[in-house]
């Protein structure tokens, strides 16, 4: 698809109503397309995670319109949203969210099963995905026996199950040391550049800004600033390694 994959048109999300209403996301408009690695930064409570949930079809906007490919998510009923998530979106979480009772291979297989891929084909694809993230030697390990970096790699392989065009990552380096964190972010950036995916990552980590194609800044529910690697400022950031 040549146009934008994900379009937010004056999207707002309000929790509660009346005097106790809290506006988590305020009239955000965005157009995102494939092959880009986009960072979303901002202070805690600025609405980053809510925006990620809206983009991931885990929440529906209170106001505004949200399009995922040709689908107007804001107009769909709740029962259709799981279908969109299965088809278009892969999630990576800060705390990995692996299933503790399942091995690395089974964690990835389960995600494939949910997308309708079963049996030997699921196993073949799970093996390939784990090889893609460099974990072929840890297939039958339970999450408790894996390091933080390895867990996040399994989570990344799981997010790639079913080949979703969009990856949404919520602070994927938050539980990792800086070296491992950077390796994971490099992997995510690589998935955008070499495989043409849209990778959208929420982070507080300034050190990985140089890897991004676009950086969005959020405050009080609104996008307050944008940077692009194509901009001069983006070039300066990359040169200075900030």
């Amino acid at each position: 698809m040549s146009g934008p994959w994900l379009v937010l048109d004056r999207v707002s999300k309000v929790y509660g109503d009346g005097a106790s209403a809290v506006v988590a996301v305020r009239e955000v408009s965005l157009e995102l397309q494939g092959g880009r690695f986009v960072l979303l930064m901002g202070p805690s409570g600025s609405g980053k995670t809510t925006l990620l949930m809206l983009m991931g079809c885990l929440l529906k906007p209170t106001r505004g319109r949200l399009f995922l490919f040709e689908h107007e998510v804001s107009a769909l009923d709740e029962r259709t949203l799981p279908f969109l998530r299965r088809r278009y979106i892969g999630f990576v979480f800060q705390t990995f969210n692996l299933f503790p009772a399942l091995t690395a291979l089974e964690n990835v297989e389960l995600a494939l099963n949910l997308k309708g891929i079963n049996g030997r084909e699921a196993q073949r694809q799970a093996l390939a995905l784990l090889a893609r993230v460099g974990l072929s030697e840890r297939l039958h390990f339970l999450p408790r026996d894996l390091s933080g970096g390895e867990k996040q790699r399994v989570a990344l392989a799981r997010a790639l199950a079913g080949d979703p065009p969009i990856l949404l990552a919520d602070e994927p380096t938050g539980m990792l040391d800086s070296r491992t964190g950077r390796q994971i972010v490099e992997l995510l950036a690589d998935l955008a550049r070499t495989e043409g995916r849209l990778v959208f990552m929420v982070t507080h980590d300034q050190r990985v800004r140089d890897l991004a194609d676009d950086v969005l800044f959020m405050e009080d529910g609104s996008i307050v600033a944008r940077e692009s690697a194509d901009d001069l400022w983006g070039a300066v950031f990359r040169r200075e390694g900030r």
Binding site: G56, R79, R85, R86, I89, N97, F99, A161, D170, M175
Partner: protein
Amino acid sequence: MVSLARKNLFHDRVRFAVALLGIQFAVVLMTLQIGFFLKFMTNASVLIDHIEADIWITAKNLKNFDFGLPFSEQKLYEARRVPGVLWAEKFLMGFSYWKMPDGGQETIQVIGFDPETRIGAPWDIVEGNLDDVKSFTQIFIDEADRERLGFPRVGDEVEIIGQRARIAGITRGAKSFVGSPFVFTSFKNALKLSFIPPGQTVYILVKVAPGYTVEEVKEHLARTLTGVDVYTKREFSWKSRRYWLLVTGAGIALLSTALLGLLVGTVIVGQTIYASTMEHLKEFGTLKALGASNADLYRIILAQALIMAVIGYATGMLLARAFLIVARRAGLEAYLPLEVLAGIFGLTLLMCIGASILSIYKVTKLDPALVFRS
């Protein structure tokens, strides 16, 4: 599909063991109490159900079989004249006393039948010849009551209310509901071994002739005979069972215990499944983020319930069997036909699924933000 339900269950073995214990407790309690209850109900009408009569004529306002009251034998001849009666026979049941070897006495129920027609005779003879009861003082006792009666053997002489009697044989499956052993003999002998006066009978058994319905002959008998009640076999059987079930409350007590087992089991299983769901709530949220629908999540919870039900039922039944073996040695029998065992499995399944409903509700209300919290 990778069985997340099974793997999650077996991953936390202590929790799984607690849940199994709850199900086993419910299964054992339900099986024993329902088994005892059914045996109790079967025993309450054991003779009525085995005797081939279609209609029973009893004294007026009789409460149940075991409380039989005598009435005039004349009614027998009146009954035989009623159209549609193929045959009618007198049948006696009277309480009496058996002198024990240690000098004590045991209450017994003397059953008197016609040895020529054998209507009302014991149906399962383990040892001996029924024709022997034609002779004076020959009796049959049930194998289940031998211990109660001091282990008499065939050929032994015993004393019943001062009369000498000889054990002619042993029956099987004729255990009295009230606990007093049945002693079978001819009607003539029974009059001597009980307190029923001569010229009286306790029941009249009637067989309906071909071409007549039981209902029409019953109505005809009821109109013709005065001072007695007339029941179909089914009515009298139910009347006897109903008395012990509802009037005395004994059956209700057994059923209540079975129900209690079901409730306690449901609470334990429900608590376990709910705790497990709460513990894995974030995993359910992750599944949702991965594209699982609510129906997928319900399937996982229900699969957990199903696995627990099957394992809990199988192991619970083994335990129940062990308990029943011990109970049988103590003289307590249970009646558990295949359909009842299937019914208990159904109840176990229902219990486990019912216990999952709260978990399903919780998952339905899952906050998607949960998966993003550290």
